[in-house]
Symmetry: C2
Subunit: 329 residues, 2 copies
Amino acid sequence: MKRKENAPTMKDVAREAGVALGTVSKVFNDIPVGKDYRRRVEEAARRLGYQVNSYARGLKTNKTCSAALILPDVTTPFFSALAQNVCQQLAARQYKTILSLTASDRSAEQRCIQMVQQNKVDGIIGLTYNPDLKVDPDLPYVSIDRHFSRDVPCVASDNFGGGQLAAEKLLELGCVRPLFLRMWSGVPGEADKRWDGFASVWRQRRIDCASLHLKDEEGYGPFREFLAGHMEGGRLAFDGVFCVNDDLAVRVRAMLEELGLRVPEDVQLIGFDGIRRFAAEGFHCSTIVQPVQRLAETSVGLLLQEDRSSLPSLVCLPVSYAPGGTTRE
Amino acid sequence: MKRKENAPTMKDVAREAGVALGTVSKVFNDIPVGKDYRRRVEEAARRLGYQVNSYARGLKTNKTCSAALILPDVTTPFFSALAQNVCQQLAARQYKTILSLTASDRSAEQRCIQMVQQNKVDGIIGLTYNPDLKVDPDLPYVSIDRHFSRDVPCVASDNFGGGQLAAEKLLELGCVRPLFLRMWSGVPGEADKRWDGFASVWRQRRIDCASLHLKDEEGYGPFREFLAGHMEGGRLAFDGVFCVNDDLAVRVRAMLEELGLRVPEDVQLIGFDGIRRFAAEGFHCSTIVQPVQRLAETSVGLLLQEDRSSLPSLVCLPVSYAPGGTTRE
DNA sequence: GCTGCGATATGAAACGTTACATATGCTGTG
DNA sequence: CACAGCATATGTAACGTTTCATATCGCAGC
């Protein structure tokens, strides 16, 4: 596939406008230029349909005005919300977003990093699972939700606190037989701390907390069986369920109702993420809300910060509880 | 934010390897080079940590190996599935994906197009709603789901056929009081044809078909009221509902059940899109499945086709029906 | 041993920009 | 009226590649 050949260059514009090359350059870089000159250049550029060639510019300035966003995938609701916000934040600062998905191919993560060194992007925002990813420490990189080296700044939600919050809410709403359900990819990450936080509260109260951890590829079937297996006389052995994300929570709700249980009357249910389709709409379930927008803002802010000598190693953003019909409040 | 300065260049590699500049270039472009030379260059490059500077290369070759993907947003399930597939397809062909979201800012669509002329990308795949988007006809552009000019190739699902298929299925399953529900952004698009196709079948059969068309910003409330308003003696005035997408269908199902109706016993429900979270999982509802992967494949294929003189104006891909528990089959 | 030929390495020019050192024009002062 | 001083325009040298015309090498044939 070929691009249009012979696009007009600055030289053409300069000739057309009857000014020097440097003057044209100034006009397109917002450097003070005599009013009359500026007008002539602008008119000539319009006549010729001139557009700056960003590859030539990039070659000189060593800046590309683009950043890579590395995500496992973009269909998981939380990831897609993240992509949306990061992309918007970057666009607001005149940066292009290069999207790299790694789920299909784990080695892709390392290859993405190489792009930067090839001057393809100015920096990287990555949410990656690869534990031994090598990141050149003086390469602009911000990690989301995964604190994999002290040299690389990480932005994350307070997952541990979120787990605690869920437990405290359930306690407050009268639950005494808690259950934690989780679906995960199999590689460790910050999200693990949701369980740690949740468990810590019950442990402190000397209350037993059951849990079931499933791998993605096992599907939702085992959850259904587990729940069915814990029914005794029309009642479930648990009265409060914390799911690792909203997606799971919504499905668990359906499973519970299939078993003839009422949510939230018989069982209360809390999810995690707090992703909504429209801001005006409610949540799909009661949930611990991640500040996706702030996550994105913070990451982009850190990435584009001029002074890279004093970056924080970890920025932990607060989560909040939002009722969504699956708790008695 | 600054990139690392003084990255090694081809000249450095050439000096280190004791060969000429051009030889180094050949090595990195897979042009035949004496075996011994190649080895020396490769070793020198590794020692110095050399990486091709793609901006210098892009300047010379006028190719960027990247394509822009323009979408309204990336949180809508169908769009995110599309983004996922297009990104993968491009990556498979060594192309980078530049993601541009336009929902927040309609004029962004036009600006995205300009990027290409600035040599930022080699081509564009766009799903845009802007009816008077100006696309340079000899600019590699593939439109998804919107056939806005004969010069610009468009790839779309067979929306009309999908609407027909939904109606035929409902008929086959015994429905005689159909309803069409739709949530849309307010700008015309290919998805409008779902209604056209659906309506055409009933018209031909001389059966009245009710419908309700809502704008995004109105939220789902009016649907609930509409359905409640059509209850008579515990029964709904409709026995078959076709929703413009699965997202809506899932919500409508919940509304129907809230009204004490059983799905699919009392009312059958068909959605559109057929997006699944995992390939192994079933659908959220009975649905007309869009071939997202083929949509992506076809678009990317068309975009990167070398010979751009004989592109089809419209490629219409077949949809299929998939039961998902909200129909009696 | 010399010539001629094919194969392969070489180095300079060009790609379209930015940045800097230099040239030009203009204003105001002694 | 000349000239310092300033502001602004000019033109050239990079930036790191690719490409192409030229140079070099090795070898077969006479």
